[in-house]
C-alpha cells in the first residue's frame, strides 16, 4: 500500500497519518529481521528464568536488542549489577548519534522539545533506517505523528515476537527450543557484521568474539567488560595506526 502523495489533504488527519506510519512496517524486510531477533530474545529470557511480563516490559522500556540481550545474559549468569549497567550503557552510546541525526528529519520550527521524546525513544537501528526511506514522502509537519505510528508498529511486531519466542521455548522439544535460542547469536552476529563498515568495526567484532572465551577464564564477574574494552581498544588502536599520524 503506497503512501498518498505529499500534497494530499488526507495527511491533515493525525489519526490516519499515525495508521499509515504503523502499516508502513509491512513494507520493510527489516521487520522480518526484527521479528526473528525478538523471537530469540523471548526464548532467551524464558530459558534464563525471567517472567513473560519482565520480557515484554523490557522490550517496551529498553527498546534496543543489544541492551536487552546484555541484560538477560549478564543478569542471568549472575554478573554484578554494576557490570551489567556499564555494559548496557556502553552498548547504548550508539543511540546518541542516531537520535541526533534522525530528529532533524522530523523537526520543524514549531516543534516543542517534548514532542521529540517519543520519537527518540523509538529510535534504534531499524527505525533510523526506515526514517531515511519513508520521511521524504511525508509532509514535514506530519512526520512526528508518522514516526510515532511507525515506532508503535515495530513495537507491536517485537512484542508479539517476544510472546511467540517465550511460549515456543516453554513448549517445544529441546531440539526446536535450542534452534530458537540460536536465533539470537546468529541474528546479532550478522546484523552487526552487516553494519561493520570500517576496519575498526570489523576488528572489534572479530576480537570481541575471540577474546570473550579467554576473558571468561578469569571468572572476574567483569568478563564482558574486560574483553569488550580490550578488543575495542585494540581495534581502535590498529585503525589509528593504519591511518597514520
Amino acid at each position: 500500500m503506497p503512501l498518498p502523495p505529499i500534497d494530499s489533504p488526507t495527511w491533515i488527519s493525525a489519526f490516519r497519518t499515525f495508521l499509515w506510519g504503523m502499516s508502513s512496517v509491512r513494507e520493510t524486510i527489516l521487520a522480518a529481521v526484527l521479528f526473528a531477533t525478538y523471537v530469540g530474545i523471548g526464548a532467551l529470557a524464558h530459558d534464563t528464568y525471567f517472567s513473560l511480563g519482565w520480557t515484554l516490559l523490557g522490550t517496551l522500556l529498553v527498546w534496543a536488542g543489544p541492551a536487552q540481550i546484555i541484560v538477560i545474559t549478564t543478569l542471568g549468569s549472575g554478573a554484578s549489577i554494576v557490570q551489567s549497567a556499564l555494559a548496557v550503557t556502553i552498548s547504548a552510546v550508539r543511540l546518541f548519534p542516531m537520535v541526533v541525526s534522525v530528529l532533524p528529519l522530523m523537526r520543524s520550527p514549531e516543534t516543542k522539545r517534548w514532542q521529540l521524546i517519543l520519537p527518540a525513544h523509538f529510535t534504534a537501528v531499524t527505525l533510523w533506517v526506515e526514517c531515511h526511506r519513508f520521511l521524504p514522502q511525508v509532509p514535514r509537519e506530519r512526520r512526528i505523528v508518522f514516526v510515532n505510528g511507525l515506532g508503535c508498529g515495530l513495537l507491536c511486531i517485537s512484542l508479539s515476537a517476544n510472546l511467540v519466542g517465550y511460549v515456543l521455548a516453554a513448549n517445544l522439544s529441546q531440539t526446536f527450543a535450542s534452534a530458537i535460542l540460536l536465533l539470537t547469536p546468529l541474528a546479532f552476529l550478522f546484523s552487526t557484521a552487516r553494519n561493520s563498515r570500517g576496519l575498526a568495526d570489523v576488528l572489534a567484532l572479530v576480537l570481541g568474539l575471540v577474546l570473550y572465551p579467554l576473558a571468561s577464564l578469569m571468572n572476574s564477574g567483569l568478563d564482558i567488560l574486560v574483553s569488550g574494552l580490550v578488543a575495542g581498544t585494540i581495534a581502535f588502536g590498529v585503525h589509528k595506526w593504519r591511518e597514520g599520524p
Binding site: 522500556l61 547504548a92 567484532l205 581498544t233 581502535f236
Partner: protein, 118 residues
C-alpha cells in the same frame, strides 16, 4: 487467576533491576540526543573508540551465549554450536551479506547436525 498473574509478573526484584540496569543506562543516551542535539562530530576519535568497544561488547555477549549456552541450547554439542555459526557466516558472506541467508543456514546446519547425532 492470581497464580497466572504472579507467573506473568514474576519476581519484582527482577523488574526493579530491569529499570536500573536496562532501561535507565540505555535511555540516558537517547534523551541526551534530544537535549544536546547537533554539536556532535560523528567522526571524532572518542565516538569511534566507544563504537568499537560497544561492538566488541556485543560480540562478547554473542560469544557468551555460545560458550555458556542457556537452557535448551546447552543440549547442542559445543562443536555443533560453533559449526552452525561458521556455516551461517559463510552463507552470509556468499549471499552478499544477507542476514536472512546467514540465519537460515546456521539454523539448518544446527538442526541437521542434531538430527544426525540422534
Amino acid at each position: 487467576m492470581s497464580d497466572l498473574l504472579r507467573d506473568f509478573v514474576g519476581d519484582w526484584h527482577a523488574l526493579v533491576l530491569l529499570v536500573v540496569v536496562g532501561a535507565i543506562p540505555n535511555q540516558i543516551w537517547r534523551m541526551l540526543g534530544v537535549w544536546l542535539g547537533g554539536g556532535l562530530d560523528e567522526g571524532s576519535d572518542l565516538l569511534m573508540w566507544v563504537k568499537a568497544v560497544a561492538t566488541a561488547i556485543l560480540a562478547g555477549v554473542i560469544a557468551q551465549i555460545l560458550v555458556e549456552p542457556p537452557g535448551a541450547l546447552a543440549s547442542v554439542p559445543t562443536a555443533l554450536r560453533y559449526g552452525a555459526l561458521v556455516a551461517g557466516f559463510a552463507a552470509f558472506v556468499l549471499m552478499r551479506r544477507s542476514i536472512l541467508a546467514g540465519v537460515v543456514c546456521g539454523e539448518v546446519v544446527m538442526l541437521a547436525g542434531k538430527w544426525w547425532l540422534g
